[in-house]
């Protein structure tokens, strides 16, 4: 924090005018980032008829909780999609962190003879990939990943970028002497990795874990490619499916056996329900964000500047 005081202490800070204009600019941009959320929230809380008459507003013309009642009463699909997303994110993140760290540990150790070769094998995947079509062919023809939950987890489980992040951390923060000492005490490499190195790497585990969670939680592509069983739709893909059609919204109700008479269809909170689902989808991230925010930014500093 010395640097901060050197540039911005009272003797060396920017002019009051500059400070004010920065506040205005940054404030305006911050509003730009928050305003869309406000709009979505407002639409989700607006009565559907008011929406049909007046369109979307930043403040509900007529307040209504109908959309939330709708998705909580009939939103079996929403709850299911939530469960799928949570499971996939937790399992995927755990797998990703563990596998990447294991690989990175091996290629970070000087005593590993084939270190260079395996480093190249990992890095090469960042340089060249076969393309979506061949990926799809391998996953569906060679292995049958269609409609399997593994299809949502495994493809992102290993990522050379994360391996490099781990390796960089191991190389700069784990002293050879610690490992030497452990070896002298007779520990195997497995022991050293799981009991010592991993315990010392909590910051980078948190970083890769967070980045990985975001990837899994926000993904829609894997579901689009491999899943057509509605019971396995993750949250983002469900949102994608209901984006365009009214009938898709009805199918959210349909799966719980509810049926609507034609007259009631007009009152179906289509637009507001869609926006309510968006709120429900962003919910965890928005709520967790203030708590994890420090880790995100710290982690970015760790991972990005170094490599």
């Amino acid at each position: 924090m010395r640097s901060a005081s050197a540039t911005t202490n009272r003797l060396n800070s920017i002019s009051k005018l500059s400070n004010l204009s920065f506040h205005l600019i940054l404030g305006f941009l911050s509003i730009l980032c928050l305003l869309p959320m406000l709009l979505i929230l407002s639409v989700s809380l607006t009565d559907e008829r008011a929406l049909n008459l007046n369109g979307f507003q930043f403040w509900p013309e007529t307040f209504s909780l109908e959309s939330y009642r709708y998705i909580f009463a009939y939103g079996y699909s929403v709850a299911n999609a939530y469960a799928v997303s949570i499971f996939v994110t937790l399992a995927g993140t755990a797998l990703c962190v563990l596998l990447s760290a294991m690989y990175a540990y091996s290629i970070s150790r000087n005593s590993f003879g084939a270190r260079r070769a395996f480093t190249f094998i990992a890095v090469f995947t960042l340089l060249y990939n076969g393309g979506l079509i061949s990926f799809y062919i391998v996953c569906t023809r060679l292995f049958d990943l269609h409609n399997q939950i593994y299809a949502l987890i495994l493809p992102y489980a290993v990522n050379a970028f994360n391996i490099i992040v781990f390796r960089t951390y191991f190389l700069t923060n784990i002293h050879e002497s610690v490992i030497e000492a452990a070896k002298m005490d007779g520990a195997s490499e497995y022991r050293i990795f799981f009991n010592i190195v991993l315990r010392m790497s909590l910051p980078v585990v948190a970083t890769v874990g967070l980045l990985s969670s975001i990837t899994y939680w926000n993904d829609w592509m894997l579901a689009m490619l491999f899943i057509d069983d509605p019971g396995l739709y993750p949250l983002q893909y469900l949102l994608m499916r209901i984006e365009n059609s009214v009938t898709a919204i009805q199918s959210v109700a349909g799966s719980a056996g509810a049926s609507y008479a034609q007259a009631e269809l007009d009152k179906l909170p289509v637009e507001s329900a869609r926006m309510a689902m968006v709120i429900v989808a962003i919910g965890p991230i928005a709520l967790a964000y203030p708590f994890f925010q420090r880790f995100f930014i710290q982690g970015l500093n760790l991972g990005a500047v170094k490599g």
């Binding site: 911005t8 709009l39 091996s106 990939n129 061949s134 495994l154 926000n218 993904d219 990005a304």
Partner: protein, 303 residues
């Protein structure tokens, strides 16, 4: 004798890395080899091994028909993203750093970073809330306050290049600003202290200290981005325009072209050729730019 001892010692390492290696083989290396499907006349009945060879035909059709406009879109958008994104992110980082109130700086940083966390599906809903033809806020304002006609946003191609660049920067500027901010914070304060002693103004400090210290990071990140210039963020280009076919001339990039081809539109042969084309050119670009990055700063290159 020594060789076998070496092998034995390496066993734990190989065991540790094998799960990841297996997954890498399945999801990265096998598809690399399966890329030869671009040279086949693939159909789902005959499958991968049964489809007849087609030589360079797929590539011929691709370049006769679609290659130009999807490549142009991909590259031009990335150029805009790289340079505008750079200017905005660096400006944000500097403003955040110079702000007198550290508490406000942290607040702004958090808020500006937030869009990076939401998915493109959600962003597409947000854009819809603004640009929906009958209900969107923008058309409401246009017809209500300004008294002009509503715009059919999802059918008019002319606005989308600007919209897409804006939305892309909206989503990632805060994220990139954090990276530049980290660099600024790591500049040795002694530079600034001696500059102040010499009577340098804030602006001069920026010119002669901050900017030169930022330049290496900016160059490296830019070069790395150029290496990926043939790749686009599928989420942005597929979700936000809601896959409106009318907008394809300005929103279709190589990645969405491939995704659409896979989903059944377009011919799978040309799509596979597009995939190989993208991977191959991408490889050349990444290798070349990484070699350049390596010359300047060895540690930041990928290899």
């Amino acid at each position: 004798m020594l060789f076998f001892k070496r092998l034995k010692r390496d066993v734990p390492f190989v065991v540790l890395l094998s799960p990841a290696l297996v997954l890498m083989t399945v999801f990265s290396y096998l598809p690399m080899f399966a890329g030869i499907v671009a040279f086949k006349d693939f159909n789902y009945l005959d499958g991968f091994f049964g489809s007849p060879w087609a030589g360079w035909d797929n590539f011929k059709y691709l370049f006769q028909m679609d290659a130009y406009y999807i490549t142009r879109n991909t590259v031009l958008y990335n150029v805009a993203f790289i340079f505008l994104g750079l200017v905005v992110s660096v400006a944000l980082a500097i403003m955040l750093h110079e702000l007198i109130s550290k508490r406000f700086a942290k607040l702004y940083q958090s808020v500006l970073f937030f869009p990076a966390l939401i998915s493109w599906v959600i962003v597409s809903y947000i854009v819809y809330a603004f640009l929906s033809i009958d209900k969107g806020i923008v058309n409401n304002a246009l017809t209500g306050w300004f008294g002009v006609e509503a715009v059919e946003w999802y059918s008019e191609t002319v606005y989308w290049p600007y919209l897409i660049v804006f939305i892309s920067i909206w989503k990632s500027a805060g994220y990139n600003a954090v990276i530049y901010l980290a660099t600024i914070v790591s500049i040795d304060p002694e530079y600034y202290e001696s500059a102040v002693l010499d009577g340098a103004s804030k602006w001069k400090q920026f010119q002669y200290i901050t900017l030169p210290m930022l330049t290496p990071v900016m160059i490296i990140l830019t070069l790395l981005a150029i290496g990926k210039i043939f790749y686009a963020d599928t989420g942005l280009f597929y979700q936000v325009p809601r896959n409106s076919g009318v907008l394809y001339p300005v929103t279709n990039v190589i990645d969405t072209y491939i995704l659409n081809g896979l989903k059944g539109q377009g011919q799978i042969g040309m799509t596979a050729a597009a995939g190989l084309y993208q991977s191959f050119v991408g490889l050349v670009l990444v290798v070349v730019t990484n070699l350049i990055v390596r010359r300047r700063s060895k540690e930041n290159a990928l290899f």
